[in-house]
């Protein structure tokens, strides 16, 4: 063909297209990512006093096995490396350094605990490794200005207790409040948000505060002393074992306050069933996940999908335990984020995708609750809905509320 101007012009677009093609097909990898796999690092307390949270790591392992069997993420298998830190910050530091420096993971996912994550917070940001979907409700994970590589996941504790405070000011403005709280960062964080939410009425409304340690065998005596303070509203900031004890004891001693239970311990199977459904009637709490043994979701498609996953990939798992739902949901969020990274599996791109989650709906999130992030908003989940236990199921009421403590 003769090289006329027309022919060159005709050939131009395809030439340009050819020139552009290598740029699209270019893959960029940081340590931990390759054509065949993505290495993900994780720490969880599989031993020690907090070992009941180990089920989260086990569920996530099962989930990633399922993803791999279905072809992986953009054709790459997930290599999920999870180590036990026994909820001990020095051990977490050691395990995380191993993950980053020895195993060479691309990112850290859903590492659990507040003191444990605090111990690695500076290190991970210095190393510029994504520290995403941290399993802790502390507010400090949403600070992109100072810690651009760390981001939380669940609605933070202070937002949650401020919702309770608002509810109390509205529905029980003259209540006498008793608080039972765990004497660590988790308990104190909730308490702080609660007092902030009550504002200047906090001093007059809260008539009794009782802390406990996780080494205490029971909280029975704390409950007795809270009852004797004459309070008629009980804010229960405890982990599942002590929550069940407190509910049971309160019923035993004939104390029937307005009972607000923190969301860490509102699992029907894990807490209310052992404590007794009768004793748990009328307890209030907030939710962002569907409780697996709540009959409300019996025919829900998201629930059925989750049951199918548990049956096939984690049959030993306890289907009454809300922690498995938590793990399932946050793992889905990770898969969504990594999918959107495409072939650019650099740490910077991971953070970029994490910071641009738009209205992500996941099957086990309550209807109306969506994950959202931006460059200045590192709180993916901010919404909660209140519910009351009617003896069989959690009856959700009121609107989906957006937490007050966020970007």
């Amino acid at each position: 063909m003769t090289l006329t101007r027309r022919s060159i012009l005709a050939a131009a677009p395809s030439a340009l297209a050819l020139a552009a093609l290598p740029a699209h097909a270019q893959k960029k990898y940081d340590t931990g990512a390759s054509d065949s796999e993505i290495k993900i690092g994780h720490t969880n307390p599989y031993s020690g006093p907090a070992s009941s949270y180990g089920v989260i790591g086990k569920t996530e392992t099962a989930f990633f096995t399922m993803i791999n069997e279905k072809g992986g993420i953009n054709g790459r298998k997930i290599n999920f490396i999870s180590y036990d830190d026994g909820y001990s910050p020095p051990k977490t530091v050691e395990q995380v350094r191993k993950l980053v420096e020895s195993d060479g993971v691309l990112l850290l996912f859903n590492t659990l605990g507040t003191p444990t994550n605090t111990a690695i917070h500076k290190y991970i940001n210095q190393k510029k490794v994504p520290h995403i979907f941290i399993a802790s409700g502390a507010t400090k994970w949403g600070d992109p200005k100072n810690f651009p590589w760390s981001i939380g996941w669940q609605p933070n504790y202070q937002s949650e207790s401020q919702i309770y405070a608002t509810y109390i000011k509205d529905k029980h403005p003259n209540a006498k409040i008793a608080v039972l709280y765990q004497n660590d960062d988790y308990g104190k964080d909730y308490l702080k948000g609660f007092k902030d939410g009550l504002g200047d009425k906090a001093g007059s409304m809260i008539v009794s505060e009782a802390p406990y340690e996780t080494t205490d065998p029971t909280v029975d005596s704390q409950v007795v002393s809270l009852k004797s303070s004459g309070a008629d509203l009980f804010f229960n900031i405890t982990i599942p074992k002590f929550a069940a004890q407190a509910i049971k004891k309160a019923a035993e001693i004939g104390w029937k306050p307005v009972h607000i239970l923190n969301s860490v311990s509102n699992s029907i199977g894990g807490v209310l069933q052992p404590a007794g459904f009768e004793a748990s009637k009328d307890i209030l709490s907030t939710f962002y996940l569907k409780d697996p043994i709540d009959p409300t979701w019996k025919d829900d498609s998201g629930y059925k999908e989750w049951v199918a996953f548990m049956d096939k990939y984690y049959p030993d798992g306890d289907k009454t335990n809300v922690f498995t739902v938590f793990a399932y949901t946050v793992a889905q969020a990770l898969v969504d984020t990594l999918k959107r990274c495409g072939d650019t599996l650099t740490r910077e791109n991971v953070m970029k995708q994490v910071a641009s989650i738009k209205d992500l709906e996941l099957p086990m999130l309550l209807p109306g609750i969506k994950a959202n992030t931006s460059a200045t908003d590192f709180f993916p989940l901010k919404q909660l809905q209140m519910g009351r236990f009617d003896g069989k199921a959690w009856e959700l009421f009121g609107p989906v509320i957006t937490g007050a403590v966020h970007a």
Binding site: Y46, P89, P115, T118, K122, K188, E213
Partner: protein
């Protein structure tokens, strides 16, 4: 009930000082050479291995030093302590508070931590004089349990950081040396370790050391001979706390974080395990103890995540079965048997010559 209280930590009849067992390895001149070779090998580690391994070995040295502190009290002086996690924590917090609140350079915090812990240890040792054996164990154990509660205590929060803990920064190498912070900390820890191990070794071989061990083996006889048992026991408590406190300080710098729940009595239990595995009453054994405490849990986890604790327990039991007096005791026995074997072989070959 037995009429004679069993002494804690009293080794068997195998003499402490290998020279007396006539072992070739202990010939004068060989020992310093062996130690020198070990130190050289230790010094080469950070240059040959990854930063993470250097970090782990720094922690091994920290635990070895903490175990040495416990050893001085329990192994050499027979006073049972389950409370050394408290001293470790006090040392760690002293360093963290000085570095974070008052910007004091890290190397000055070590003597400060040691001094504070010596004081606490000595003061605790005074009332502890009245208690023996398991009753003393409970008292020290009470200290270990109380420490996290005290560290979380509200009114002290402005100092201790309460439940949030304190974050500190790892120091940079001085004089612009071409190594990174991890390597520098390793060498710093190694230097401190060598100095303190040498001091402990000297203490044990001195008159004071013999007095301390006499108190362990025959307290009443020692008192009858004019040893001021009360003073020595309290001083030993203080020195022991000092060692573990300095270890805590180094540990805090290595981890760069202190929080109340890092210093629970489970740490005391780990130190005790390390002490026994290394060999009660043996100074080099502390290093074996430190290695055990750091690496064996990781090893157990690698074998099975679900049964990691069970595997750890089984390994520990095997160690106790095979080496009831710890690694040091085992090494001693092995050396004695080797010497006897050599002697018998020489006698045999001599006999043949005749």
């Amino acid at each position: 009930m037995t009429t004679q209280p069993k002494e804690i930590g009293a080794p068997e009849a195998v003499p402490l000082v290998p020279e007396e067992a006539g072992i070739a390895l202990a010939r004068p001149g060989v020992r310093p050479f062996a130690i020198g070779a070990a130190v050289l090998a230790a010094a080469l580690v950070p240059l040959l291995f990854k930063s993470f391994v250097t970090f782990q070995l720094t922690l091994v040295m920290v635990y070895a030093l903490a175990i040495l502190g416990l050893n001085l009290l329990t192994g050499f002086n027979g006073q049972f302590s389950l409370g050394h996690s408290a001293f470790y924590g006090i040392g760690a917090y002293t360093t963290a508070i000085l570095m974070d609140r008052w910007d004091i350079p890290y190397f000055w915090t070590l003597p400060a931590a040691g001094g504070v812990c010596f004081l606490f240890g000595f003061l605790f040792g005074l009332p502890a004089l009245r208690l023996q054996g398991l009753y003393l164990a409970l008292a020290t154990f009470a200290l270990a349990i109380a420490m996290p509660q005290i560290l979380k205590f509200g009114p002290l929060e402005s100092l201790t950081g309460g439940v949030q803990g304190i974050v500190i920064l790892k120091p940079d190498p001085p004089f612009g040396l071409p190594i990174d912070a991890d390597q520098w900390l390793y060498y710093f820890t190694l230097a401190v370790l060598l100095v303190m191990f040498a001091a402990a070794s000297n203490l044990v071989r001195s008159r004071t050391g013999r007095a301390i061990m006499a108190i362990r083996d025959h307290p009443i006889a020692a008192a009858a001979m004019g040893i001021n048992t009360a003073l020595y026991k309290s001083l030993t408590f203080g020195v022991s706390a000092l060692y573990t406190g300095v270890a805590g300080a180094l540990g805090a710098i290595a981890i760069q974080f202190v929080a109340p729940d890092s210093f629970t009595f489970l740490l005391s239990v780990s130190l005790l395990v390390g002490l026994v595995v290394g060999g009660v009453g043996s100074i080099p054994g502390c290093l074996v103890g430190g290695l055990f405490v750091l690496f064996v849990p990781n090893l157990s986890e690698a074998v099975s995540t679900g049964l990691a604790g069970a595997i750890y327990g089984v390994i520990l039991l095997l160690v106790i079965f095979v080496m009831p007096s710890g690694a040091a005791g085992f090494a001693r026995l092995a050396a004695v048997h080797l010497a006897r074997f050599n002697q018998a072989r020489n006698r045999f070959s001599d006999g043949r010559k005749k």
